[in-house]
Symmetry: C2
Subunit: 339 residues, 2 copies
DNA sequence: GTTAGGTATGTAACCGGTTACATCAACTGA
DNA sequence: TCAGTTGATGTAACCGGTTACATACCTAAC
């Protein structure tokens, strides 16, 4: 079942079939109707590979996310998808599972399928991958973190500034023992930047940085709850916990509930991402609102412009907002013992 | 940059280049080395469309999920991805957003890209779509629900049986006023089947079905919390709530906490999906464990077999397990007033 | 009546790999 | 020494659309 076969049956040439499908206004109405009737009778679906192959445009944009488990990426993905769809482009979603090797394989696959743009999560990766994309003149954009290298366009919020704001807030509320739960900084540059912000904020306020108050964990709620349990049950527990991710903050919140550590009376919590669930739990969880949707739209728009009009992708910073809710309170004036 | 260009530069034919890349053992070691050196020097990435186009094998499997927000699909997706990757196939993930129109468009796109298999979520869709897939001899499998039509192979658990078990459990604990929060049954056949099971279980036990105790809602935690609030603050509130989805169950749990309705003393809860978070909240949430991973693996294996060896996909039922946790308790013997 | 311009359609090259088949050299064994 | 076999490589058709260009026909204007 090819356009040649249809052409024979309709008594026209292949070009007319192709035109009837792609540019219906360029064939005579009666011819068009005859062809479309055949197409629907035989349920003909043209081969997209052949089409993109000969037209030299794939209409494809690739998105590489580190995980699909975290629903913050779902919102991001949907924003991108909607934007691309409106522009007549399709999205290829790929999950790198926080692995550099898998990601490299994915990027290669995307180049093989000749995508017209790539949206990446995080900036930290082998320079060879960036070079490969540039070599194939595939516009790309980094999201969720900003590369220090100006040649790598990033459409992102400022992880460092956002985390700084959260930690500074805790400090301004009088907290001096502040714990941190964050992602694994080796494989997650967002976590690394938030970690840096945490440490710098403490130093700036002459608060000693204590490695024992920091816990790097993969983003699983059970693991996070255990990590929080360990922090909170120390002899000298922190009075506040900054969690570089809402999943981890929720794990911490539930762990505290289980241990009868009162939030925010005994310990203050601030999360990151501002997932919808933060507004529903008890107490509602303070969190850094991340403009995932806006960021996705801007990234998609930039790639659409690049693919359509050859406009180079330029970086952009979108704002975050610290949402203060019931999980955060001033430190008890005295160093009240917990429990 | 094509294999023809490389062939000229290497002083060999295009066939040798192609072989050096696809079947390295079929070219002389020295020739191979010379070619591969050129390939890496010029960062040559062969055009995948041309490759699949001429070899008549795309190595692609499509997955259509109704949402990527719910992490239960993440586990499912990852299981599929791992299985396919091991078999040398790639996964195309597409999000239908609970829309039949979007789904139809996606399926068409998948056929256009000549995928070698399709994994669908839910069985209820226009028969024309199934016919189209069959017409193109694309093996497909339905997951997450079982089609009553035997010609539509389903690898799934039994929604009706699983929901029945949960409701029967509540009844056996003495509950007589049992509410239901579920997805929108018009667009979600899983929700519809669970709804049916709920109603049938009540009738079987001579418990009057009260439509006011049922709330169909999209899977958003805030919306679910509001729905639960409405149910629980009725004059004559239910003593148990079956939630056909953990997101909704969590919304209900947090709403109850906020209203000072004690779980499970005042109201028992059972969810569905057994997300990791159910084990961390307080009290831990009873839930129907769904073998998402197993189901994904089985679906992937079936399609691999179909694509590789032409073995027709056959249906299969995987088991669920009701996980009883702290959110469920026997009904208070008298009809104690809540609050 | 001739020519210019427009519309509908056909012809065929082309996109960039893959692979069946052909070719040729080198080696094996009688 | 020569037929037979093996291994390495080349030739060219092919996958199924798209589209530049050619062609044929019709209408309108001078």
């Amino acid at each position: 079942m090819t356009i040649r076969w249809l052409a024979r049956h309709a008594g026209v040439s292949v070009a007319t079939i192709s035109r009837a499908l792609r540019h219906p206004d360029r064939v005579a109405p009666e011819t068009r109707e005859r062809i479309l009737k055949l197409v629907s009778r035989y349920q003909f679906v043209p081969d997209g590979r052949a089409a993109t192959f000969s037209s030299r445009r794939t209409g494809l944009v690739g998105l590489v996310v580190p995980t699909i488990s975290n629903s913050i990426y779902a919102e991001f993905t949907e924003a991108i998808q909607n934007r691309l769809q409106a522009a007549g482009l399709s999205l290829l979603i790929a999950n790198a599972n926080y692995s550099a090797e898998i990601e490299a394989g994915i990027i290669r696959k995307l180049i093989e399928s000749r995508v017209e743009g790539v949206i990446l999560t995080g900036y930290k990766r082998d320079a060879a991958l960036y070079n490969l994309l540039r070599h194939y003149r595939i516009p790309f954009v980094v999201t969720w973190s900003t590369s220090p290298e100006p040649a790598i366009p990033s459409i992102s919020f400022d992880n460092y500034a956002a985390a700084t704001e959260a930690v500074e807030m805790l400090i301004s509320l009088g907290h001096r023992r502040i714990g941190l739960i964050c992602g694994v900084t080796d494989i997650n540059d967002r976590a690394a930047q938030r970690f840096d912000a945490y440490r710098s904020a403490l130093l700036r306020h002459k608060i000693r940085f204590e490695p024992e108050l920091v816990s790097e964990q993969p983003f699983e709620i059970e693991v996070s709850a255990e990590a929080a349990t360990r922090l909170v049950t120390r002899k000298n527990p922190p009075t506040a916990l900054f969690c570089a991710n809402d999943i981890q903050a929720l794990g911490a919140l539930f762990a505290c509930q289980r241990l009868n550590v009162r939030v925010p009376e005994d310990i203050s919590l601030i999360g990151f991402d501002d997932l919808p669930i933060t507004r529903v739990v008890n107490p509602p969880l303070s969190s850094v609102h991340v403009p995932a949707k806006l960021m996705g739209q801007a990234a998609a728009d930039a790639l659409i412009d690049a693919a359509r009009n050859g406009i180079p992708v330029t970086g952009q910073t979108v704002g975050t907002e610290l949402m203060m809710r019931g999980s955060t309170a001033p430190a008890a004036s005295a160093n009240t013992k917990i429990r």
